[in-house]
């Protein structure tokens, strides 16, 4: 545990010294936030809660990007092999990545909530307890998924390519950028199998509809189960050495990481509860929009 904590502090310190980190973790989400409130929400404060849910989702999902890139860089530069000489296992190395990422995400999330409430006059704080729960579990889950990508790719180029593909899926099939409710029914069913959808639905419900921790328990459970499996898979696939080959059974391990979401997706697809919830969230949003006059054009 001592090793994990020591590494966590080092990683946080390194991130704070990295200008790229500030841009991608703080500036970019804020640009998205301003853009979304201004252009999508057209300045209507009733929409801010919904937009906050989406922005928090992309912020938390960003863990996926940063960690995979950092781990591959460390491996390519031979930094990991120096750590391998110390009495440290893959577990502390990976756990410290997840923890440090969490400590770096939290201030950004708080900042985004404050900006929404104070600058964009969000109508309520949302259910902060539920938001905190989802951000905590979500950040860890997406970090662990990023660590899997880092373990099965050999170079930075490969990592970027695979990250882009997965990121696009997460972004557009989660409901964070385009409401899932406007998709055809078959695509909505596909989205039920996407990890990011659980985070987006949960955060939108808790930020815009004040959903309690209990009400987002299913989202949290899917993410939590995903976290445990993804962490174990990333531990199994972890490679310290730049020239170490990806294990032959890596594909099976990667599939194993998706099992929790396949199970939850199949379950939700059968019951239809989640699709109804997604529709309700969207209808609430539309209802609010219809009942409010458009701001006057200048």
């Amino acid at each position: 545990m001592g090793g994990t904590w020591t590494l966590t502090k080092m990683r946080v310190r390194l991130a704070m010294r990295n200008r790229a980190f500030f841009f991608f973790s703080l500036v970019m989400p804020l640009i998205f936030l301003f853009g979304a409130v201004t252009f999508l929400g057209r300045g209507r404060k009733e929409w801010v809660g919904y937009i906050l849910g989406a922005i928090l989702t992309t912020t938390v999902m960003g863990s996926f990007w940063g960690l995979s890139v950092q781990l591959v860089t460390f491996r390519e530069q031979g930094i990991l092999r120096r750590f391998r000489l110390a009495p440290l296992g893959a577990g502390p190395m990976l756990a410290s990545s997840i923890l440090s990422n969490y400590f770096l995400v939290i201030p950004v999330v708080v900042f985004e909530i404050l900006v929404c409430r104070w600058a964009f006059h969000m109508q309520s704080w949302g259910n902060l307890w539920a938001i905190f729960l989802l951000v905590t579990v979500g950040s860890a889950t997406f970090s662990a998924l990023g660590l899997i990508v880092a373990s099965v790719t050999n170079t930075m180029q490969e990592t970027q390519m695979i990250n882009n593909l997965i990121w696009m899926g997460f972004l557009f099939l989660s409901g964070a950028t385009i409401p899932l409710a406007i998709f055809p029914a078959w695509l909505q069913r596909v989205a039920l199998f996407i990890p990011a959808q659980y985070l987006a639905t949960g955060l939108e419900s808790s930020a815009a509809k004040m959903a309690t921790g209990y009400e987002v328990l299913e989202d949290v459970a899917a993410l939590l189960l995903g976290l445990f499996v993804a962490f174990e898979v990333s531990r199994q696939l972890f490679r310290w050495e730049p020239e170490a080959k990806v294990p032959r059974n890596a594909k099976l391990w990667v599939l194993a990481a998706l099992v929790p979401f396949l199970i939850f997706g199949a379950w939700e697809s059968t019951t239809g509860n989640r699709l109804n919830r997604i529709q309700q969230n969207f209808q609430t949003l539309r209802g609010r929009a219809m009942s409010m006059p458009m701001p006057p054009a200048h």
Binding site: G2, T6, L14, N18, G78, I79, R81, R82, L85, A86
Partner: protein
């Protein structure tokens, strides 16, 4: 004499079709500085990395402090310190932070402030790793290898690529380790490094130990012959040099003729006469007292840096 601190028996390791180690065996005693000397690709790094627990041998036995490096986990890592041939640290990590970070991983810790002073890094304690020179990075790597006050230190080509001044500084540090009676396994392809620092040397070539002993023993095995290196105006084709008085063998490397002679004055006189008779000219002539390089040439027919 007790059980060796490092024991290597019949070690084999292949990377695909390339056989890096083909039955390497040696043992290192407590407090000894032991050198693995050989050209690039000889199998030195593979051997050391197996002993550090970073690689798995295909066959053979490797033990350090009585432990299997691969299977003994943290207990083993607490006992060793190492400078890897290729490694790095995060660019934005400060010198002092790097030492403290690694020290915290171990139960037994050296005083990091003392290490900074000892390795002349005190003034650079707040410098980022990326701002250090090659020599400073290597001194930091050495300091990091000692943060746990290890029983055994592995140094894989610790002076490779460094300028002579920095190299001498590193030699001083290794000599200090020697005085402290640390067991050190050092790999190098620098002759002077092996001769100056090592109590015993194993000469490694193509995955095998081809000679083993103290530098003095090894040099004695080359019968105390002086190496004479000559360059001529016109190349020779008739093997004339091998027949000169006192010459036991003669080889050509990139236009330089390397002779080994038991009677250098007579050899040189004979050489000058012969060249005059043939109308050839001596461009340069250098003499070297017997070194490990000569042992390597005798055993392999090649120079160490080829």
């Amino acid at each position: 004499m007790g059980e060796p601190v490092i024991q290597v028996e019949n070690l084999f390791k292949s990377y695909g079709a390339v056989e890096a180690l083909r039955g390497v065996s040696f043992a290192v005693e407590q407090g000894e500085v032991f050198g693995l000397l050989g050209p690039n690709g000889a199998g030195k790094t593979s051997t050391v990395e197996i002993l550090e627990g970073l690689r798995t041998p295909d066959r053979g036995v490797a033990r350090v402090c009585g432990l299997d490096p691969e299977k003994s986990g943290e207990r083993f890592k607490e006992k060793i310190g190492a400078v890897l041939q290729s490694t790095s640290l995060p660019d934005k990590l400060r010198v002092k932070e790097a030492l403290e970070l690694f020290a915290r991983f171990y139960h037994r810790r050296a005083d990091t402030d003392k290490l900074l002073k000892r390795f002349q890094l005190d003034e650079k304690r707040n410098a980022f790793y990326s701002h250090l020179s090659g020599g400073q990075k290597q001194r930091l790597a050495l300091a990091m290898a000692l943060v746990n006050d290890p029983e055994v230190v592995f140094l894989d080509e610790p002076t490779a690529g460094l300028d002579p001044q920095v190299r001498r500084e590193i030699y001083d540090i290794i000599e200090e380790l020697k005085r402290e009676k640390k067991t050190v396994l050092l790999t190098t392809h620098y002759i002077e490094e092996a001769e100056r620092l090592c109590d015993r040397v194993a000469i490694v070539d193509q995955g095998r130990v081809i000679a083993l002993g103290t530098p003095r023993e090894l040099k004695r095995s080359s019968a105390g012959k002086t190496r004479i290196e000559v360059r001529l105006a016109r190349p020779l084709t008739n093997g004339m040099l091998a027949g000169l008085e006192g010459v036991s063998d003669c080889r050509e490397f990139d236009g330089t003729y390397v002779l080994h002679s038991a009677r250098p004055p007579q050899t040189i006189v004979a050489l000058v006469k012969q060249l005059e008779a043939e109308g050839n000219e001596l461009q340069s002539l250098e003499m070297f007292s017997p070194s490990l390089e000569d042992v390597f040439i005798e055993l392999t027919g090649r120079r160490l840096r080829e």
